[in-house]
Symmetry: C2
Subunit: 88 residues, 2 copies
Amino acid sequence: MFAALAHAVRRQVLLVLHFRGGSLPAGKLAERFACSWPTTSRHLRVLEHAGLVRVERRGRERIYHLERPLLERVVGGWLAWFRDPPQG
Amino acid sequence: MFAALAHAVRRQVLLVLHFRGGSLPAGKLAERFACSWPTTSRHLRVLEHAGLVRVERRGRERIYHLERPLLERVVGGWLAWFRDPPQG
DNA sequence: CTCTCTGTTAGCGAGTTCGCTAAATACCTC
DNA sequence: GAGGTATTTAGCGAACTCGCTAACAGAGAG
């Protein structure tokens, strides 16, 4: 999961999805990035494999949905270990 | 920064540092991990390069200090984008 | 100076990542 | 079925990652 967040484009994909209401078709996502369409498609598959997005086939489009709960649970959960002083 | 968090050993290093009060010499860190000492040393350098730890030379030891504020600021700050609904 | 302890740097090899272009697949329309 | 649209898969090459072992460097002790 953290490995999927290592690449700036993938983090940006998640942000774009979020600020567009949580879902977008692959094409609308890909046109926002400098890298080629197949490259973006592969980034999407990495995110999907990590469980951070879910894909829905609608007609000839594929809609990508942000899995916000997982993102918050895993990243937020990990960060929470550092929240409080350990000896407190 | 996120790339430095991609590897499980490096995330674990940060946790160990935190739960040991924020700092440990390299040897005490390395003995906790299955990988060889030079490999751990390299992980430490990746973390240092990312700014997540700071090294202090004391005698023949090198004490690694967790940079908790940076960790929380960057990861927490990024996660905060997803905190609230975008249209709200 | 030499020996030891602590830790790093050097260098290798297998595997992965990430960019690209070209070709294929899937669906819709005619 | 033919053609267009949306998107993925295939395959390549350059670069990076991450494990290892071996050799090096700095500091303290005898």
